[in-house]
């Protein structure tokens, strides 16, 4: 899903308790790790340990600030019985999706992220996360989060959204 980008103090409280009353929405945008399209990214400092066992990503996937969520909009499945890449029990992952490009601060790489919605149970209601950068009006269906993306599923009822890595932005 993703059409609750439009946000509001009341609901945002569930996400970010500390924002000031006015301009809190802008505050949410500020946690983003920079936009690859609007300004080229510099590689971030790399971890000292380059071994295969080094963590490939860091951060808390139940928080809106998590790196994969740079273009998500909706309830985070990590707070609904799923994970950042799997749907909660009894829901169905939508095969139609929108795509974002997020930078992983751990390895400095840009990944293509697919924001699949999980469908078939009513709105989860937990961990609403809204990030609007790169969002366009609904005439750009490839870039809008104003639609409910529970399309091609048995039920179009929206429950929550995951953030799957589908590839490296550059090989």
């Amino acid at each position: 899903m993703s059409w609750f980008d439009k946000f509001t103090e009341k609901s945002l409280r569930r996400v970010a308790q500390s924002s000031s009353r006015r301009g809190f929405l802008r505050g949410i945008g500020a946690v983003l790790v920079g936009s690859a399209a609007s300004a080229p990214l510099l590689p971030v400092a790399r971890a000292d340990n380059h071994s295969a066992s080094a963590p490939k990503e860091e951060g808390d996937p139940t928080q809106c600030e998590y790196w994969r969520y740079c273009a998500t909009d909706g309830f985070l499945c990590t707070c609904c019985g799923g994970t950042y890449n799997s749907c909660p029990p009894g829901t169905e992952m939508s095969p139609i999706t929108w795509i974002g490009t997020c930078q992983n601060p751990t390895d400095g790489r840009n990944y293509i992220i697919s924001y699949n919605d999980c469908c078939g149970k009513g709105p989860c209601g937990a961990c609403l996360c809204i990030r609007d950068e790169g969002d366009r009006p609904i005439y750009r269906s490839d870039k809008t989060n104003d639609y409910n993306w529970c399309l091609g599923t048995q039920s179009a009822v929206y429950h929550c959204s995951v953030a799957r890595v589908v590839g490296l932005a550059v090989e």
Binding site: W3, F4, D5, K6, F7, T8, E9, K10, S11, L12, R21, R22, G23, F24, L25, R26, G29, L32, S35, S38, I96, G120, K121, G122, P123, G125, R131, D132, E133, G134, D135, R136, P137, I138, Y139, R140, S141, D142, K143, D146, Y147, N148, C150, L151, Q154, S155, A156, V157, Y158
Partner: protein, 393 residues
């Protein structure tokens, strides 16, 4: 406090007889029994300051509703006039030629699962009873954040246009005369239906162009005409949410311009853009934004929610101000700061219009549209997320 069926009540009432008899001759005549089964009705034409509040109930989408409120009234009891249910992010249209509302909504046979049924439910304005419904085939109705032009009446309200997204895009044409589906018109790559020309509509397209469609009297497709791309949808996007004044749709752009499009002829005509932001305030980077953040009054003024320090990602945020524009002279005539952060606006009809703002607490702030004075705030009427408000027509 005693909750009794009449029989048992009568038993103890007997015991009280002595006490009451003592007082009886000193009293006025008692209250007459109330009739059974009374149900209120509303006028077929609603007063100017009544509102149709579309509560999508985002956390409980099957339980959305449209609440009829009188923005002039002081107390909740006088404000709340009635309600209609509206399932799964429904759309609303109000006829001005028939005393009817149309709600395009979606049901599943088991709430969130089972067989899908899309319908246009027809309500009587006066009784708020369901007069009938039109089944929409194919389960295509767009499921999206509420939009004013996702459900559009044209041709003296004889034809109702339902926007579909599957993600294939089309318009289902419903006759409000026969209460049936009469056509489906493909609008590939385009969205929504802004009323246009004699019996048609214009849609906004992914290439930054437009598609103007005219229908025959029976609702079937007559002709379609594409208007070439006039903006860059990536770099310089136009919002798809205009206010339409005298047939000219004023579309704000992300960066604070307004792009008027003349819809009076059968094909849309692009007009020169102008800026919403006076030059001397350009540095603060004011931008339009919100949910339903544009409105107009019957005098032809344009209203837009604005926020300072705008940029990529702020376009749906809402704002601190409502700015009012004279579209003839392309000048700002008022700059109203809002009490709370504003998400959506509407302006009521008539000569003394009210400005209605859905704020971040999901209450409705009612302002004098000419002075910007806050008159009252409407809340506690059972609303969850009233994203969109329509003034009664």
């Amino acid at each position: 406090m005693q909750k009794l069926y009449v029989q048992s009540t009568l038993v103890f009432l007997f015991a009280l007889h002595a006490i009451d008899a003592w007082a009886d001759d000193h009293r006025s005549t008692p209250i007459e029994p109330d009739p059974m089964g009374l149900v209120e009705t509303l006028p077929a034409e609603y007063p100017e300051h009544w509102l149709l509040v579309m509560d999508a109930a985002f956390f409980h989408m099957l339980s959305g509703k449209v609440i009829v409120l009188d923005a002039d009234a002081d107390t909740l009891g006088k404000q709340y006039k009635g309600s209609m249910n509206a399932s799964f992010i429904a759309s609303l249209a109000q006829s001005t030629t028939k005393p009817e509302f149309y709600i395009a909504e979606t049901f599943y046979s088991r709430g969130v699962r089972g067989d899908r049924t899309d319908v246009v439910t027809i309500y009587d304005k006066s009784t708020l009873d369901v007069l009938g419904e039109v089944l929409l085939p194919g389960g295509k109705r767009a499921s999206a954040m509420p939009q004013r032009y996702a459900l559009t009446l044209i041709d003296d309200d004889k034809l109702l246009l339902v926007y579909n997204f599957t993600p294939a895009q089309s318009i289902t044409v419903v006759s409000t005369e026969t209460r049936s589906v009469v056509a489906e018109v493909a609008i590939p790559g385009c969205v929504l239906a802004y009323p246009t020309g004699d019996r048609g509509f214009t849609s906004m397209c992914s290439d930054g162009g437009l598609l103007s469609t005219q229908l025959n009297e029976d609702g079937t497709l007559d002709s379609q005409e594409r208007v070439a791309s006039f903006f860059d949808t990536d770099e310089d996007p136009v919002f798809e949410r205009p206010a339409i004044i005298d047939g000219i749709a004023y579309f704000p752009t992300f960066d604070g311009q307004v792009r008027p499009i003349d819809l009076n002829s059968n094909t849309a005509r692009i007009m020169p853009e102008w800026s919403l932001v006076p030059e001397e305030e350009a540095e603060a980077n004011w931008r339009p934004g919100g949910i339903a953040f544009t409105a107009k009054d019957d005098a032809g003024q344009l209203y837009v929610i604005m926020h300072p320090d705008g940029g990529e990602g702020t376009q749906n945020n809402g704002g601190t101000d409502v700015w009012v524009f004279d579209v003839e002279n392309q000048t700002r005539v008022h700059k109203f700061p809002l009490k709370e952060w504003g998400l959506s606006i509407e302006v009521t009809r008539g000569e003394n219009p009210l400005l209605v703002v859905t704020n971040g607490n999901f209450e409705l702030e009612i302002y004098n549209s000419q002075t910007g004075e806050l008159i009252r705030t409407l809340g506690g009427f059972g609303q969850e997320t009233p994203f969109l408000v329509r003034g009664a027509q």
